[in-house]
């Protein structure tokens, strides 16, 4: 049964990108274990506002695990200790009475801090703009059944397409590498006939952008896969390597 618990949260506070940050600890009383983690942060912010203090900035939007906006490194895990979910899907029943919960922003050179727990993830957008799409040439809508796609390919493409671009892979990686993200975005298109014509160009330019933005070299530790809320497999990274190397050797 869900109880009401008293907890402490140790939160990273940083006024701006260039300011020096520090941890602040706040006590929270009677938090229902049935509430979500972000609701707990809402309660904290209400408390802070009532005390005349500045609320904690954190990212969130859909609060149902589909938009990829929420983040947070909670007690040594991106998206908290519970597996296969985003922070917005995390519930306070993963914590116990008397716990001190450490909450940090994603930390990586590719994701600079904007304020408190909010980091700048536009790097992912830039990588997508470098080639993470199929060029649309207007014309009639082709019949859906005109392009046969083997079932296993379709499944793998759908699995890769589950990536919500939250950045947990980068946050978990000791190398600050964005390979799982890029691999998922390259794979979801490379596996399908619609994505094939541009596959080589896509792999090359997305990897080039990823490198340019300061993400690290993947050494296959697999931390990304473990922490990914959408269970994206690192097999996608092997596929990305394959696509990239094929494209380069063809040049």
């Amino acid at each position: 049964m869900d109880k009401d618990i008293n907890i402490k949260v140790k939160v990273w506070r940083q006024n701006g990108p260039k300011e020096k940050g520090r941890f602040e600890t706040y006590a929270l009383k009677n938090i229902s274990q049935g509430s979500s983690f972000l609701e707990m942060l809402d309660i904290l912010n209400e408390q802070l506002i009532n005390e005349g203090k500045i609320p904690v900035a954190f990212d969130h939007d859909c609060r149902e695990g589909i938009c990829g906006m929420c983040s947070l490194y909670i007690n040594g895990h991106p998206h908290g200790p519970d597996g296969e979910i985003t922070t917005c899907q995390l519930h306070m029943r993963s914590f116990n009475d008397g716990d001190t919960i450490t909450i940090e922003p994603w930390r990586s050179a590719g994701f600079p801090i904007i304020k408190d727990l909010v980091v700048d993830r536009t790097a992912f957008e830039k990588i997508m703009q470098a080639g993470g799409y199929v060029s649309v040439n207007t014309g009639g809508i082709p019949d859906a059944n005109a392009i046969p796609i083997p079932r296993d390919k379709a499944e793998l493409a759908m699995d890769a397409a589950a990536c919500i671009g939250c950045g947990a892979c980068v946050a978990a990686c000791k190398n600050g590498s964005a390979m799982l993200f890029v691999a998922a975005k390259v794979s979801q298109l490379a596996l399908l006939p619609q994505g094939k014509p541009e596959a080589a160009r896509r792999a090359k330019s997305m990897v080039a952008k990823m490198d340019e933005l300061g993400f690290g070299n993947c050494t296959n530790t697999g931390a990304c896969e473990v922490e990914c809320p959408k269970n994206i497999s690192i097999s996608n990274i092997a596929r990305l390597n394959r696509e990239f190397l094929k494209a380069k050797f063809k040049d």
Binding site: W12, G21, F23, Y73, N75, G76, H77, P78, P81, T102, E104, R107, S108, A109, G110, F111, I113, A172, K174, N175, G176, S177, M179, V207, A208, M210, D211, G214, F215, G216, N217, C218, T219, N220, T221, G222, A223, V226, E227, S233, I234, S235, I237, A238, R239, L240, N241, R242, E243, F244, L245, K246, K248
Partner: protein, 224 residues
Amino acid sequence: MSWLIKSSIGRKLIQSISGLFLILFLLFHLSMNVVLIFSHETYDFLANEILGANWWAIVGTLVLGLGVVVHIIYAVILTLQNWIARGRNRYASKSKTQVAWSSKNMFVLGVFIVLFLFIHMYQMWYQMQFKDLFGIEGVRHDGAQLVVDVLSQTWVLIAYVVAFIALWFHLNHGFWSALHTVGWNNDIWMKRLKRLGYFVSTLIVLGFIVVAFAVYLGYTNLLV
């Protein structure tokens, strides 16, 4: 081909190919060691006539040396770049993400291997091929006896075994990681490659350890 050094995947390819090349060399090295157990005479014949200071052995040594140097240089580059990519501010809470220990410690394991290499090269290669090539006094042509002399010291045995264990961890991650890097992996092959890596690293390391102990305990030249 500048993408090889300019792109992250290119740099990983270099690390991967040099690593796989070194694994092949280790397999060859192991088979030489096993000969020692059976016959000193054959060992010395192979070491002096087939290897020794012949032009092909010198070319081989140079290629091997190049492989080692490239692997170490890229190990340093990759590790440094990755350290920087992690950002200036580190997490205060220790990461609780479950990953294979060796995958996080490839560089440290490599440093152990390098330290071993210095000792090992001085004890063996310097005394034989190097001195021979540069006409330095005290060249050893009795390779088998040299190995026995060196490995009958207890500290050498211990140092070697420690290095072999470090190598085992390095290869446990390195083997499948290298194939993953060249793109030869998927959900099905992942398990197979990890198991194969486990097998190859155990074969190499156990082989080295068994021979080292055999030499230490005097069980060599058994066919004579």
